[in-house]
Amino acid sequence: MSILKVENLSKKIGKKEILRDVNFEVNAGDILAFIGPNGAGKTTTIKCILGLQKLTSGKITINGYDIKKDFVKAILKVGSIVEAPEAYMYLSGYDNLLLDKNYYKNIKEEEIMRVVKLVGLENRIYDKVSKYSLGMRQRLGIARSLLNNPNLLILDEPTNGLDPEGIKDLRELMIKLAHDGIGIVISSHNLSELENFCNKVCIISQGRVLSLKSIDDLKKIDQAKYLVRVDDVKKIKKYLTKEDKIVNDTLIEVIKDEQEIASFIKELAVTDALIYEVKREDLTLEEAFINIAGGKKID
């Protein structure tokens, strides 16, 4: 079931084109990793989805409601953190949650403690937010975004400020929520943080979607990274392509599938170069992506 649908989203601020033809979809149970370097347009996309910025053109639908026409209904079951997790510093964490609770009908006060426990903040929840660390504020932000039992969760760089323990907790929480049928969008500039629990990856750079793939598709890729150590790289230089990387005078790095590496080694064998070692390494998702996206660097 489609929860979030972004169609041909474009955004201009002044003359500057910040987003162009962004398309993606999030279904129930999806965890979409929204990846891009600084300034790619992740936050802008998220703000457009949440109605914080107006679309220049395109259409965004949440739970079947167009956000331009039915904003109130569209946003009702959305939880979000945008950029930093802001809160009213002069109130306690609990009071912040209480304020949020009052914006929704039919949320009981017990719900507050439920989400507080989910993020493990129960010991400090009655302290003023001004006394929280960044990681604790991030946890409070996640708790706030969960308070209205959302079926779409949009988190902009939620790992910011979290310790490894926090990231692990977040990962488990996301997996559980997705399992319960919530659609999740998590942005980050670092795919490796998300790769072992997201099921879709959307890479964005300079306002355009470079690639949108499911993890399963990625896993099917049988390419791997091979490190080849020879006595002198110069001797084999003419067999290298643009994508292959020369690490130093004796080491090269190539990305190929099994067929390709076999014939590559055959080629090298007839030269006068001495091959000391060929080492296979699995690609990280990120490297696979760069490869798919045509070698463009994203960070």
Binding site: L50, L52, V72, E83, Y88, Y90, L91, L99, N102
Partner: protein, 460 residues
């Protein structure tokens, strides 16, 4: 919507700045009341010539010149009178009214006529008076005054004589000594002193200045009459009643500070702190959120004023006492020549209401700036500057009778003239002023709503 407003209130009542201003207000209120209590100590007495100065002047006079002798006698009499005043602290009025003419006469006889014998006869009379003053026998002077009045021959009698007689009867009947700390005595003396000027002006064609003076005297007469009839110390403003009747002018600046502080931060602070993102992703239309903030300001405005009044009543009551609260406030209506009598609280409420448009317009302007600039300091500063500029413009418009400012809101927003029963200084009718204010409010709010609806939330 009520939930939204409740949330806004909760945020405001958790802010430190709100309490800091309130504490400053309490201190300011204490100070103001103390000043009211000690108005007497602060009032500058007319710079009187001292005895030493008079003596010095006399020693320099060449007594062979005729005019100098006159001066010498006058100074001498003044010196004597001053000495008497110093000796008989409460007798000032009687000494000046009854003893001074005798002292002058005695000195004239002694130094001009050189008739010591006659002078001494007068001096025995002076001693007699002084003894009565010393014994506090004010009734002696009252009955003397009474018989004087009764002895006026029929053809010299007029309206005034009847009034003088009534005043003296009142004094005797109600046991009112000639004591300047006694407000009834002061009212009696005021009437006596003003009466003949009043009748003179009343019975002739008056110039513009004389008309103003006459209006003033009329008001004085009516107020003093009210004081004597109701035996209420109306004119005493060194009291809680005095502070409350000037509430808007004493504490208006604080009301303004509260209003501007609230309306200037309620929207912009959410932008500054980034919390606007939480707020705008809640299931409400943007205009609902803005309306809740606007209503919060509008609801808090009277509540804050009420709290300020309560604080002032408690602080002022503790410092000045609560008794004055049952003394009414009198307003003279010059067009009907009648006094209007207000209960203190009624007057206070009416005077605050007549000032509400000022706070409302400035509050809404600040609210707009807060929304458009998303900067609390800009909103507050610009609103204050606008307020200062408005005062300058309204003064200029008044002094130079400038017509181009006819539609400028600051010329319309003060309705206190209605309460004071004076004409509008710019000759506007109240309904015209209300329409102008209404138009300003509608335009400003429309701009604010349109802007807020369109505004993108920028990066923080």
């Amino acid at each position: 919507m009520t939930n939204l407003i409740k949330s806004e209130m909760k945020k405001i009542f958790h802010k430190k700045s709100f309490y800091i201003v309130t504490i400053i207000f309490v201190l300011y209120a204490i100070l103001t009341n103390v000043i009211y209590k000690s108005i007497d100590d602060f009032s500058i007495n007319d710079p009187e010539v001292t005895i030493e100065e008079l003596e010095k002047e006399n020693s320099r006079l060449d007594l062979n010149v005729k005019e100098n002798l006159d001066k010498y006698v006058t100074n001498l009499s003044n010196i004597e009178i001053k000495k008497m005043e110093d000796t008989y602290k409460n007798g000032e009025y009687l000494i000046n009214k009854y003893v001074f003419p005798l002292v002058y006469q005695a000195n004239l006889l002694e130094y001009m006529e050189k008739d010591l014998e006659e002078s001494n006869i007068v001096r025995t009379k002076i001693d007699e008076y002084l003894n009565k003053i010393k014994d506090n026998d004010w009734k002696y002077f009252a009955s003397m005054r009474m018989s004087e009045l009764k002895n006026i021959s029929n053809e010299d009698k007029d309206e005034k004589t009847d009034i003088y007689i009534k005043l003296t009867e009142y004094r005797i009947k109600n046991n009112i000594p000639y004591d300047e700390d006694n407000y009834l005595n002061n009212a009696l003396i005021d009437v006596e002193n003003n009466l003949s000027e009043y009748y003179n002006l009343k019975n002739k064609k008056t110039s513009k200045e004389e008309q103003e003076r006459l209006d003033y005297l009329k008001e004085e007469m009516l107020v003093n009459k009210y004081i004597l009839e109701h035996q209420k110390d109306i004119k005493n403003n060194e009291s809680l009643k005095g502070v409350l009747s000037n509430f808007a002018s004493e504490f208006g600046l604080f009301i303004l500070i509260y209003v501007i502080m609230l309306s200037g931060s309620i929207v912009s602070e959410e932008y500054n702190k980034g919390t606007i993102k939480n707020l705008l992703t809640k299931p409400f239309k943007r205009r609902t959120i803005l309306t809740s903030k606007l209503l919060t300001v509008l609801i808090l405005m009277p509540i804050i004023i009420l709290i300020m009044v309560l604080i002032e009543i408690i602080v002022g009551g503790l410092i000045l006492g609560f008794d004055s609260l049952n003394i009414p406030i009198l307003i003279y209506n010059s067009s009907t020549s009648l006094l209007e009598v207000y209960n203190v609280f009624k007057y206070l409420i009416l005077s605050l209401i007549s000032n509400i448009p000022i706070y409302l317009v400035l509050g809404i302007i600040c609210f707009m700036l807060s929304t458009i600039t998303a900067s609390t300091s800009a909103a507050i500063t610009i609103t204050f500057l606008f307020y200062l500029m408005s005062n300058v413009i309204s003064n200029l418009a008044l002094v130079y009778n400038l017509k181009i400012f006819k539609y400028f809101v600051a010329l319309h927003w003060d309705f206190s003239y209605l309460l004071e029963s004076t004409p509008n200084p710019y000759h506007f009718t109240p309904s015209f002023s209300l329409i102008i204010i209404g138009i300003y409010l509608i335009v400003i709010l429309a701009l604010t709503y349109i802007f807020f609806d369109k505004k993108d939330v920028k990066n923080i």
